[in-house]
């Protein structure tokens, strides 16, 4: 069986592409970093891949809003090929900036009729960029990436990650459909680790099929134990990190 292929789609300002590619490779995929300009010039490139990942970073600087321009680029130049990729069962993962991009392209949580966005990622309530570790609770449901996962820790690093929906009804609908699959949870002392004021502590969401996932935390930054801030003397240095199953699950699902 050939190894599945993962496209790590980057734009100017993407900066988590190398470690995300590394995580997929460790999980058994062949990962290729592809510039969005190259893909726009040759959309058929996507035909060779089973997994598409939009990694973290500050695409186009995020000066206007996170992921906005990257999403516009995808919508205006690659809408058809992305839809085709999704419809033939490709997996799509958006991490941090990539999550922001997925929401803005309408690939996640958009209005099925108008295509309008029903959710967004706003500035953190603190108004500040924040790098810290959070506790998470997965409710995997259909979500391919989260199968077998429960409670775990991952780092977040963002200034715009506060999940909001257009209306409370939208939130309830996503909740009822089991799409709000990843939530910030309380730490050992019972303190909430919601780092940004997200509605309903939402850290990650999937589409109706469970094959598209967007999340603010960075699974690629915890694929081995040494990446945890308290590993020293406490974790087996050779152990995998809690973020690794995101990648092995994806690889298994398309193998």
């Amino acid at each position: 069986m050939l190894s599945p292929r993962a496209m790590i789609l980057r734009a100017p300002g993407t900066n988590c592409d190398h470690e995300t590619a590394h995580a997929f490779e460790r999980a058994g995929a062949i990962a290729r970093r592809v510039h969005v300009h190259a893909l726009a010039q040759k959309p058929s490139l996507a035909d060779d891949f089973q997994i598409l990942c939009i990694p973290g970073g500050f695409s186009y600087g995020d000066d206007i809003a996170s992921g906005r321009i990257f999403a516009l680029e995808l919508k205006s130049r690659l809408a058809d090929s992305l839809a085709k990729f999704r419809d033939r069962g490709g997996l799509i993962l958006g991490i941090c900036n990539g999550f922001q991009v997925l929401l803005q392209t309408g690939l996640l949580l958009s209005d099925p009729i108008s295509g309008a966005a029903r959710a967004s990622l706003a500035h953190n309530t603190s108004g500040m960029f924040l790098d810290r570790w959070v506790h998470l609770q997965a409710v995997p449901g259909r979500c391919v990436f989260l199968q077998g996962m429960d409670r775990f820790e991952l780092p977040v690093a963002h200034g715009e990650g506060r999940f909001v929906t257009r209306s409370p009804e939208d939130f309830a609908a996503f909740d009822a459909a089991g799409q709000l699959v990843l939530r910030y949870a309380a730490d050992a002392s019972g303190t909430s680790s919601n780092p940004n004021g997200a509605m309903g502590d939402v850290a990650g969401v999937c589409d109706e099929t469970g094959r598209i996932l967007g999340l603010m935390p960075h699974p690629e930054r915890f694929i081995d134990a040494l990446q945890h801030p308290a590993w020293n003397g406490r974790l087996d240095p050779a152990a995998a990190g809690a973020g690794f199953p995101f990648f092995t699950n994806a690889v298994r699902a398309v193998s």
């Binding site: 100017p12 995580a23 600087g61 603190s126 790098d131 990446q227 020293n232």
Partner: protein, 988 residues
């Protein structure tokens, strides 16, 4: 047509900018600003219909879920309609010519919608309560805007066009030097911001006289940039007659005979095992890493720009040092950043600040934000740093930014070839940053904000990220022969340096400009950010251009390296200026300087304890002291985990305590690691510059060694920041610090691989009574240590690990309280300055490393700011663990420094002395005997008393939640670890 689009939040609760205005106004004492709302505005000019602009707003500028927008012609009253109870509308926008990254992004995005506006500018809009003009001005300039880069408009915007200048028409200006006396030459230098001395201008005049003419402006500017203190070690490289405590010394070149000489000696000793690759000649210092890679490191300062515009100054400082790494050899990949700031104390009363000075708290917030926004966007983890607070830095803060890079082996050497194209790549050139190099070489004053003109810049990190992606790919394909960054002096320095031996011809009209109107000289010396210069063989040009296009980077051939030894500058085919490279680089007259150093008298230790003082009260105060206290509010704003290689992070352990050194993997998936440590003993600068420097170097090394760095593989960097070195006394302290660098490097076999100096850190102002004041910063050496660990699995962090483990101290303590944190928190005055015993330190380093390697140490922390007790407290905080320690067991040199001999004085001296070169180690109970045997055997094999390493068991990790301290008198006091953590985090 000029349109304006305003973006409003649907939910006012999310308006954190408004909250910040209200909070800031309260802090400034601007009365009546209890409420505000804000918006982001965009001025968009071009042949666009209202429908076009509305489409743009909906698709690009506003979020459909969280925001609404207003579109109108600029100046339309609807744009400044008062919000309820908020009649004042205040606009802050970048001045014409200042980099506006958001606007550039918006302009690019327009293309995706098929719209082609001619110009875009971003605006911040504030709706405020009715305010007097003076109050509104104060709010604007103290809180919202920076004079160096912003315009502020209260009420409707007057703009009807954003159009810039017209193309420059060629002209030449001859600068008459002939017949000018020294006073006139000085005046000329000052008026043109050349920072050239009369003697240097004599040399220029004589050179041009031999050619039978006066210099052209562009030629004189090129010389001024090249000869600036910023671009060459003008002072440090001078011949100096020094008179110090040990007599008179004559240096022909101070730097060569101290710092460089020590590196040469270390490399000679290492012989075939020399692991230095390229030192003191490229943009950063390069050393061996693993079989496939070399690593490089550089630390720069950006003090003067940061004093005036903290955000832009720090951001472009970081951007510059990243390009130094990118421009090393054939290009290195930046993998870690560090930052160190020296500022006034945060509690400085605003009334105590000289005119024109930004409050230290606002300044620090600004520089942190600058590093955050640049470093995070670049995707380089900022993993190490420090903040030092001292009144001496008011008006002249120090902002150090450093970068580590990695490159394939055998790519450290680069050489321009005759016939290579001069290629400039990256951002376009604007009028920003003119005279930065020379501005940094003159003193700051209360008028600097207006005088500096264009010397302050705003960075555009994404352009640098794109440039980096381009350079690394071009480097991988070996498509250029040499590369350097455009930093201080702009193209004049970058091209000048690359053409130093071969010469070059440059067509300045080909330099891509941000807007029309720049003269040839401006294009040549502009320090516009995010540009690199490459030497490219004509045969490789096509391939290189293709990569640039793929990455969206502009690369332009602007000339040729000729081999004729002349720098020829042209504009549309006409000669704009011509310089002899030899004169440019070797013609600067060297002047013999005199320096002297007289050590200040040692003040006796004077205790100033309160009646109810105690060990624990002192400990809580020291933990809360600004230098020691948690920097979490800074660290968490930095992405210190991007690239996935951060292994020992700045906050670590279950209690998120402070790290010593930090560790990153060199390469994803590989186990060899790079360690970074910094040392800064600025409080000793005025007491003893030699010990200040030596102590800083020991601290940087100790940070690296604590975490497991091999002491035999530590590279050092020096960053000298000094006051007015034209004064013999100031220069004398600089000489003493250079001597210390030499002695430490040789003693520890740790070579200096790169460095930088920033002299003239003087702030001058005139007070209300008309009296002129000048203040120099305290002599400050920042030492940076870059170490290596063979396997990151074996790194050791300071957090306490396991109940029952024993604690040992390695290294002798002496009562040396001068400049200590204990002094800062008001418990003591004077005393001896902490002395580095280099031979003893070297043995301590080796002993710690041996014990670590034998697997006998599970936590390790060096004793620096706040001494031994603070170190133990930090280990407890990080581990969330309790501990018991016995002060009487600490090996302490008996010297009577403990004042009148009271028990508390003795305890405090042991607990808080800052004797350099000591470590606290946590040793598992099961191997405690082995540890003891290892240490004593080590000492037995050293016949020489000075080689023996003093050490002792001083406590253990215990169950519970208290730190228990047994005093020398045998009484125990306890303090909850949670209280220590709260004090350290700044809580009550």
């Amino acid at each position: 047509m000029l349109w304006e689009v305003d973006i409003h939040l649907r939910d006012a609760a999310g308006d954190h900018a408004a909250r910040a205005v209200v909070a800031g106004a309260a802090e400034l004492g601007v009365a009546g600003c209890m409420r505000a709302t804000t918006a982001t505005g965009w001025l968009i000019e071009g042949d666009l219909s209202r429908a076009d602009v509305e489409r743009l707003a909906a698709a690009v500028l506003a979020d459909p879920v969280t925001e609404t927008f207003t579109v109108a012609e600029a100046g339309d009253a609807v744009l400044t309609t008062a919000a309820a109870g908020l009649p004042t509308v205040l606009h802050v926008l970048p001045r014409a010519g200042v980099t506006d990254p958001a606007a550039e992004t918006a302009l690019e995005a327009c293309g995706l919608l098929g719209l082609r506006p001619s110009a875009v500018r971003s605006v911040r809009k504030y709706w405020l309560p009715a305010l007097g003009t003076a109050e509104a001005d104060r709010l604007a300039w103290k809180l919202l805007a920076s004079e160096a880069i912003h315009d502020v408009v209260i009420g409707p915007l007057p703009h009807r066009t954003l159009a810039g200048g017209r193309p420059w028409t060629f002209s030449q200006e001859t600068v008459r030097l002939k017949g000018l006396d020294d006073a006139a030459l000085d005046r000329l230098s000052r008026e043109r911001c050349l920072a050239l001395s009369a003697a240097e201008l004599h040399a220029v005049r004589d050179h041009f006289q031999s050619l039978g003419r006066d210099p052209l402006e562009i030629e004189l500017e090129t010389i001024a940039q090249t000869w600036s203190e910023h671009c060459c070690h003008k002072t440090l490289g001078s011949p100096i007659d020094h008179v110090g405590p040990s007599g008179a010394v004559r240096y022909d070149n101070l730097l060569k005979e101290t710092v460089f000489a020590s590196t040469r000696k270390v490399r000679e000793q290492l012989g075939p095992n020399d692991w230095c690759v390229s030192v003191f000649r490229d943009n950063s210092g390069v050393v061996r890493f693993d079989g496939d890679h070399d690593i490089c490191v550089k630390v720069e300062t950006h003090n003067h720009p940061s004093a005036i515009e903290p955000y832009g100054g720090a951001a472009t400082g970081l951007g510059g040092v990243i390009r130094d790494v990118l421009g090393t050899g054939l290009g290195a990949k930046p993998i870690a950043n560090l930052d160190v700031f020296c500022v006034g104390r945060p509690d400085t009363p605003a009334a105590d600040l000289p005119p024109g000075v930004i409050h230290p708290r606002r300044l620090l917030a600004g520089v942190v934000a600058g590093v955050r926004d640049y470093g995070n966007r670049m995707g380089i983890p900022t993993i190490a740093g420090a903040v030092a607070y001292d009144p001496g830095y008011i008006g002249n803060p120090l902002v150090f930014c450093g970068t580590v890079g990695i490159m394939p082996r055998n790519s450290a050497d680069a050489a321009v070839q005759v016939g290579d194209l001069v290629v400039v790549a990256g951002g376009r050139t604007g009028r920003d940053g003119i005279h930065g190099a020379t501005f940094s070489s003159v003193e700051l004053s209360s008028d600097s904000e207006s005088q500096s003109g264009g010397s302050v810049q705003i960075g555009h990190a994404i352009h640098e990220k794109m440039l980096t992606d381009f350079v690394l790919e071009a480097s991988r394909q070996r498509l250029f022969h040499a590369i350097t960054d455009c930093g201080a002096g702009g193209l004049s320095s970058a091209v000048g340096e690359m053409a130093a031996t071969l010469g070059a011809e440059v067509d300045l009209d080909r330099v891509p400009l941000k807007y029309d109107g720049l003269s040839a000289t401006e294009a040549w010396i502009s320090e516009a950010q995010e540009r690199m210069v490459l030497a490219v063989a004509p045969a490789d040009w096509e391939k290189l251009s293709k990569i640039a296009a793929d990455e969206g980077v502009e690369a332009t051939a602007i000339g040729t390296f000729t081999g004729a030894g002349r720098l020829v500058l042209r504009w549309q085919g006409r000669t704009a200026g011509e310089l002899d490279c030899h004169f440019l680089h070797e013609g600067r007259p060297r002047r013999r300087l005199a320096s002297r150093y007289v050590p200040p008298a040692v003040k006796p230790t004077a205790w100033t304890l309160r009646a109810d003082d105690s060990l624990t009260a002192s400990l809580l105060d020291v933990l809360a002291a600004p230098d020691v206290a948690s920097k979490e509010w800074i660290i968490r704003q930095y992405d210190h985990e991007v690239q996935g290689c951060s292994i020992v992070k700045p906050l670590l352990g279950p209690g998120a305590g402070p790290a010593d050194g930090t560790v990153v993997r060199g390469v994803l998936g590989r186990d060899r690691g790079i360690v970074l440590g910094v040392g800064l003993r600025h409080r000793l600068g005025l007491l003893d510059p030699y010990q200040m420097a030596a102590g800083g170097i020991v601290e940087a090394m100790a940070n690296a060694i604590a975490v497991g760095a091999d002491p035999a593989r530590i590279a050092l960097l020096d960053n000298f920041c000094w006051g007015d070195c034209r004064r013999e006394e100031s220069l004398g302290t600089l000489v003493e610090a250079c001597r210390a660098c030499h002695d430490m490097a040789v003693a520890f076999a740790a070579p200096f691989v790169s460095g930088k100096d920033s002299l003239n850190n003087v702030f001058a102002w005139t007070d209300a009574s008309g009296t002129h004041h000048e203040r120099s910063i305290p002599p400050t050496l920042l030492a940076t240590a870059m170490g290596q660990v063979e396997n990151v699995h074996r790194a050791i962090t300071p957090d306490l690990k396991q109940v029952g483990n024993r604690l040992a101290i390695i290294g002798l303590s002496r009562g040396e309280l001068a400049g200590s944190q204990l002094e800062l928190v008001g418990r003591v005055h004077g005393g001896r300055v902490p002395q580095v015993d280099a031979a003893a330190c070297r043995e301590v380093f080796a002993a710690v490393a041996t014990a670590q390697r034998a697997g006998l140490v599970v936590a390790c922390h060096d004793c620096s700011d706040g001494g031994f007790l603070t170190a133990v407290a930090e280990m407890a905080i990080a581990g969330g663990s309790a501990a018991r320690i016995t002060l009487a067991d600490v090996p302490m040199e008996a010297d009577g420094s403990s004042g009148n001999g009271s028990a508390l004085h003795r305890d405090l001296a042991i607990a808080f002395t800052e004797t350099p070169g000591r470590f606290v180690c946590e040793v598992p109970a099961a191997v405690a005997d082995r540890f003891a045997v290892e240490m004593s055997q080590r000492n037995q094999t050293r016949p020489n008393q000075t080689q023996k390493v003093p050490w002792a068991w001083i406590g253990e990790v215990v169950a519970g939640d208290q730190l228990e301290i047994v005093s020398t008198a045998g009484s125990a006091t306890t303090v909850p670890v949670a209280s220590l953590a709260r004090a350290w985090r700044g809580g009550a």
